[in-house]
Subunit: 128 residues, 2 copies
Amino acid sequence: MLGYRLRLAQQAVFRDFAASVQGLSPGRVGLLITIDANPGITQSRLAEAAERDRSTMVGVLDLLEARGLIERRRGEDRRTNGLWLTRGGRTLLARALRAIARHEQRIAARLSAAERRQLLALLGKISL
Amino acid sequence: MLGYRLRLAQQAVFRDFAASVQGLSPGRVGLLITIDANPGITQSRLAEAAERDRSTMVGVLDLLEARGLIERRRGEDRRTNGLWLTRGGRTLLARALRAIARHEQRIAARLSAAERRQLLALLGKISL
DNA sequence: TATTGTTATACTCTATAACTATA
DNA sequence: TATAGTTATAGAGTATAACAATA
């Protein structure tokens, strides 16, 4: 029951996210944020941060690179690729972050400030 | 933030579910429950109930049938297949439901009764 | 004409194993 | 030997389009 209701709520929030941040899933935004905060991060360390296999990253980064959002540059350790946001990537990330802020406000508007705090606290207790 | 925390909580609960109910995902259990409650339900109406395309059902039902959990029987409207749980399906469903009850108790144990009610209410407010 | 189950096909997201180039 | 990126492959889980049988 709780798991089910949790999933419904998560899906509702996800739908709102997808509708407001077009063309960038939560996971992709997370990658862009991580790269933005750690310019030159290698693919493997990004994969660790996202808790994904490094082989999974390859295709995702291929897509982000093909869309002109990120750049791979060979590191001084020539086995590695450092990752950077392009100008376009920074622009899109900034736009996505504004959309996410509006999205959060829309979700938060369904709750009072106290309820929101409560919900976060209760979710924290469950997320062992 | 809220969406993210929601996802973490949902994943934590899902992990506990998967660990306690081996070999049957929440979605599959839902199908067995629906068939159990509606013996002879057709594939298309089951698909509607699960909010999936009827073509998606085919493969899932093939698997459940191959595992001997369900039976397809041609309906009097000979375009349709009626679905029934087999004896093995009923046994496994009963076992899964007991495991789910223990799972729910384990999750609920992280919250007081009042907190649990609160959480359900707050999730309801979000799940528009 | 419309519906049911099915198939062929495809897309997303994920992983494991093995390869290559470097270290 | 060990690591980084890559490729081939696979497996859930999902969908759309088209087809045969039936209504």
